[in-house]
Symmetry: C2
Subunit: 439 residues, 2 copies
């Protein structure tokens, strides 16, 4: 596998090669057991299976080839990063490792136990030097969206350069103006790293590439969730594909997602579903599920449900909006359009964030879903507090909802499975009662 | 007691009078047992004992008399509120109830369990209608300093009007500029509430009053903590006085604090200490201790230590800086000076916040303290994550440090006492070893 072939490179960028190889081996085994064993998978998943085998092998070699050619390599933890700019500079912009429990104990030597597992996991990867993406980064792109991250950057910065963007927490005109300046400064920082001016044309090209990636993911989202009678791909596979969108080369990835969508379109036409009829169709709301955090999807799809959407940062929130560059004449206009697009992200860090609730209800109706699971990573105050207002609105609409708060430890897997089972049963019962009533 | 006398008023402002009376009765009993029983208290504490008995009686009547005269009454949860402006308008600006465990269970019907107890307690007071300050408020002044508060305002706003100020989390020039605008908007909001223009002279008068209050507290801080051989007042009493500074009329309060300081000055001259010689002198760092949260001071001073300072928002962070209005000619200049003063607050919400660590070490040296306790309210991510960098710096200086994270439940009182005892013993041992070495 890729990791073996690239041992020297991994060593050169400071990866703890032995520990890393063990971790990647275990990850690949988990993937094989959990994903490749699924029946009736689309053929086009073969590419994503390959990518998984090269996730920290060939892909890392590609990123480091870009770096050797003086292109930027930027690691991120948030979808507020204007990846269009990095892509326009010919570089790689990717999400850093942060979904594993295996690094949490190390992180807890420097961080409190009771903060979000994603942050702890990511910090632990740096301390362990077991994430080749982190090791490949010219800098880590931090932001102020959540306070545990915001304060962790100060500690992480001792181990790796961190550049922090101040994301406002309101969306008044003056906040957006400030935000636009932050985007411009981010571009200037990229120029500093590459020691090269970045032109408007290059940035517009970056927008084109990332718009195409998001369009492909929107297409996947529709094929996966908008056909109540045919679900041509499992939620698990769709989540995995979305997760890989944060790591892969965007042009290749877009092509492969579109190829998969072509196959899924045929499946929809032919009525080929990977789930039996009447499988409860569940929307997932909330915080991101970073690989290899597949716990929730495993629980739902292992107990007779199907996940048709993730209203999360690794999901719909990431790809729902494109940048409109129609008529853009200069850099400032482009920054304004980028800001316009990024400020549509309905992260719970904003106050107020009422648009999110309305969007969720619309998504639910559009997809003719059967229920939602509001998922928050433990100690994520923003999504956690916001869940009260969202679930209150869902209750008013009569939408079945289960709230789950979980970290990366395997300990609550059984409890989650039991709760999900009961939730799915209640939905099935409701469906049957409805069918009788309609007779 | 005051509460009984003002039953009608309390009922009129929506207080649950019966429940409130019980709660206030219990609070006063706890105060009598914990504070009034202390030996050798300064005579001038009589005023603060009286204030405690009228804390939600006569003082509430005063505030509501102001309201009747169309003056603003603003409840707050944060020291970023420019109280100078409310005071300038002739109104009352006060901290809302948020230090009691008795309201937490109610709050948890709308808020997650795993957020800061102060927020839950405050929200619960509103749901229970057992805080006469909350009930007296024209509006609650919220801010975006911490995310659990920021998101709670959205829910609290359903029960009481909340006005939110966006506090930036960085202190770059552009952030400070935005901050200044927020101060101006706050003033305009006060004008809306009172339906009356607020003049520069009135605001300058407000600054004068609040500057005097802070100067009195600085004086108390010095008398209490800067004389290693004489500690003329207990830490518990000094904390209580500081807490009352968030509730009392500022002019009367300032006069009473200064009268107390006159007495303490005499005590210092005469060597009258409320602690035996060689009592370990402890500085408390971290999050605010809102009344009746006296758990930490009770633990420390009940086991042979003395608390000489609170580097906290209900403490040094609140009163350390005054507003310099020298030469101010117009309103914009005043807002700039207010912003300048408020941006000196080294809240952990800022990134970076390195100045805080340097300040702590300087405070420690100035006070010839013997150790510090870094105290955080449970789930306060900012102070909690920042504790790593602060305690690392303290360790480099060889400063003994104990980290305590706690909520309002009585359950960990025993454990905290045991940990504090061990900490104080280790300090005493070190002192004795030092004394032998110096012989």
């Amino acid at each position: 596998m890729g990791v073996e072939l690239h041992k020297d490179l991994l060593g050169n960028i400071g990866v703890d090669v032995e520990r890393h190889a063990k971790m990647m081996g275990a990850g690949l085994e988990a993937y094989k057991a959990g994903f490749m064993s699924q029946p009736n998978r689309p053929k086009a998943m073969a590419y994503f299976d390959w990518f998984m085998s090269e996730i920290q092998g060939e892909r890392i070699a590609e990123i480091n080839a870009l770096r050797a050619a003086k292109k930027p390599a930027v690691g991120t933890f948030c979808i507020f990063v204007p990846e269009e700019i990095v892509t326009g500079a010919g570089g790689a912009c990717y999400g850093l490792c942060g979904g594993s429990n295996a690094t949490v104990a190390d992180a807890e030597t420097e961080l409190p136990r009771n903060i979000c597992p994603l942050i702890k996991s990511a910090h632990g990867f740096k301390l362990q030097r077991t994430c080749a993406y982190t090791q490949s980064s010219d800098f880590i792109y931090g932001e102020t969206t959540c306070e545990a991250k915001k304060k962790t950057w100060e500690i992480l910065n001792k181990h790796h350069p961190v550049h922090v963007m101040n994301i406002p927490h309101m969306k008044r005109e003056k906040d957006l103006k400030m935000w636009q300046e932050e985007i411009k400064e981010f571009k200037e920082h990229i120029e500093e790293v590459t020691e090269k001016k970045l032109s408007l044309e290059e940035m517009l090209n970056g927008v084109k590439i990332i718009n195409a990636k998001r369009a492909a993911l929107q297409r996947l989202d529709a094929l996966r969730g908008m056909n109540p009678k045919v679900m041509p791909i499992s939620g698990k596979d769709a989540l995995f594909i979305t997760q890989m969108g944060f790591l892969d080369d965007p042009v290749r990835y877009t092509k492969k997602v579109n190829e998969l969508c072509d196959e899924l379109e045929l499946r929809v036409q032919e009525g080929v579903s990977v789930f039996p009829a009447n499988t409860p169709r569940i929307m997932v709301l909330g915080t991101p599920l970073a690989p290899p955090n597949w716990k929730l999807h495993t629980a739902v799809e292992g107990t007779g449900g199907a996940i048709i959407n993730e209203e999360s940062c690794i999901g719909h929130r990431y790809y729902k909006d494109n940048v409109d560059v129609e008529g853009v004449q200069n850099e400032d206009e482009l920054y304004a359009r980028l800001m316009e697009r990024y400020s549509k992200i309905d992260c719970a860090c904003f106050t107020p964030n009422t648009g999110r609730t309305e969007k969720i209800i619309q998504m639910y109706k559009d997809r003719k879903a059967d229920g939602v699971i509001y998922y928050t990573l433990s100690f994520c105050h923003t999504y956690n507090v916001e869940s009260y207002l969202v679930t209150e609105a869902l209750a008013k609409e009569g939408i079945p909802c289960l709230v789950i708060e979980s970290d990366y430890s395997p300990e609550d897997a059984g409890q989650i499975k039991t709760r999900v089972e009961a939730f799915l049963e209640s939905i099935s019962f409701k469906q049957k009662a409805q069918a009788f009533a309609n007779k």
